[in-house]
C-alpha cells in the first residue's frame, strides 16, 4: 500500500480508517441518489444492447424483403430481352428488311446472271414438293 510496497505506516492506516468512516457516514439521501444513478446506468447499458437483439429478430423479415427486391431487379433487367413471340409473317418481313438493307443482296441482284435466284427458286420448289 505504501509507495514502495512497504507495510502501511500509522498515517496510512489511520487515514484509511478515517476515510472509511467518512464513507459509512454518507447520508441516506446521497445513497439513494447513487442507487438511482446506478440503475439508470444499467438500464442505459441494456437499452444500448436492445437494438441489436431487435435487429436480429427482424432478420427473417429483412431477408425476405431483400430477396423480393432482388427478384424484382432481376425481372426488370430481363424485360427488354424478353421479346414477344413474333408471328411467322412478321419474322419473314423483318428478315426481308435485313436482306434489303444488306449491300451483299444488292450485289447479287446487280450481277445480272440470276443464277442465285434460279437456285433459290429451285430450292423452294423442292422444299414444297418434299413437305
Amino acid at each position: 500500500m505504501s509507495p514502495v510496497d512497504e507495510p502501511l505506516t500509522a498515517l496510512e492506516r489511520n487515514a484509511r480508517t478515517v476515510l472509511e468512516e467518512g464513507v459509512q457516514r454518507i447520508d441516506a439521501r446521497t445513497r439513494s441518489r447513487l442507487n438511482q444513478a446506478r440503475h439508470a446506468a444499467l438500464q442505459a447499458a441494456q437499452a444500448r444492447r436492445l437494438p441489436r437483439w431487435r435487429s436480429l429478430a427482424l432478420m427473417p423479415a429483412a431477408g425476405a424483403a431483400a430477396a423480393a427486391l432482388l427478384v424484382a431487379v432481376m425481372l426488370w433487367h430481363r424485360e427488354p430481352g424478353g421479346e414477344l413471340p413474333l408471328l411467322e409473317g412478321q419474322r419473314s418481313a423483318v428478315e426481308d428488311l435485313d436482306l434489303l438493307a444488306d449491300s451483299e443482296g444488292l450485289d447479287l441482284m446487280e450481277s445480272g446472271d440470276g443464277s442465285f435466284y434460279e437456285w433459290a427458286v429451285a430450292q423452294n420448289e423442292n422444299g414444297e414438293s418434299n413437305g
Binding site: E12, N14, R16, R25, R29, L34, A37, A45, Q46
Partner: protein, 196 residues
C-alpha cells in the same frame, strides 16, 4: 451494501443478465468511495453526484463488455476526466460571474430531512475523535495538489495498487509513486501520524 439488495435489471439473455448483475455489483461496490473522491476534488455534493453518475453511465454504455477486472481503473479514469471537465467549467464560470455587477448568493435550499437521517454511528467519544480526525484529514487533503490527492485517495481509500492507480490516473507507475509519496509527506507534515 450487498449487491443482492440493489435489485437487478431484466434481460432476455442469460449471459447478458449475469454481466449486468456483475456490473451492478461492481458499481454498488465503488459508488460510495467514488462519491467521496469526487467530493474531495469538487467540494460540492451535487457536482460530485453528477460526476459519479456520468462515470457510471459511460462505463455501462461503453465498457460493460470489457473484462470485469478492467472496470475499476476504467471507471476511475472516466470519473477523473469528468471531474477535470467540471473543474474547468467551474473555473470559466467563476471568471464570468466575477465580472457580473450583481450576483446573488448560491441558492441555499432548506436542509433535506433525508440528509439529516442518522447513519450507523460509533460511540459518542469515539465519534468525536473521528469527527476531529476527519475534519483535519479533509482539510489537509483539500490543501494537496489534485494529482497527489487523487493518488492518495485511490490507493488509501479505494485500495488500488500502483498499476491500477496508474491506469486510472493515466500516468506511469513511477508518477503514481511520486505523487503518493509527496502526498504522504504533506499529510504527515500537517497531521503527524493522525492518531486516533
Amino acid at each position: 451494501m450487498p449487491a443482492a439488495l440493489h435489485g437487478d435489471v431484466t434481460l432476455t439473455d442469460s449471459s447478458a443478465q449475469s454481466r449486468a448483475r456483475a456490473l451492478n455489483q461492481f458499481l454498488a461496490g465503488v459508488e460510495l468511495k467514488a462519491f467521496k473522491i469526487a467530493q474531495a476534488a469538487l467540494r460540492h455534493e451535487d457536482d460530485a453526484l453528477d460526476a459519479v453518475q456520468d462515470a457510471m453511465l459511460q462505463l455501462a454504455r461503453a465498457y460493460a463488455g470489457r473484462p470485469a477486472q478492467e472496470w475499476k481503473p476504467l471507471f476511475y479514469r472516466i470519473l477523473e476526466n469528468r471531474i477535470r471537465d467540471m473543474q474547468r467549467r467551474r473555473t470559466v464560470r467563476g471568471r464570468v460571474i466575477a465580472w457580473l455587477p450583481f450576483r446573488g448568493e448560491e441558492d441555499e435550499d432548506d436542509p433535506d430531512p433525508l440528509s439529516q437521517a442518522p447513519s450507523p454511528e460509533p460511540q459518542p467519544v469515539k465519534r468525536l475523535e473521528l469527527d476531529e480526525a476527519m475534519g483535519a484529514l479533509e482539510q489537509a487533503l483539500n490543501a494537496l495538489p489534485r494529482r497527489q490527492q487523487q493518488a492518495f485517495l485511490l490507493r488509501t481509500l479505494e485500495g488500488m495498487d500502483v498499476a491500477e492507480t496508474a491506469a486510472a490516473m493515466g500516468c506511469s507507475e513511477g508518477s503514481v509513486k511520486t505523487h503518493y509519496f509527496r502526498a504522504l509527506q504533506s499529510l504527515r507534515a500537517q497531521l503527524g501520524e493522525l492518531y486516533l
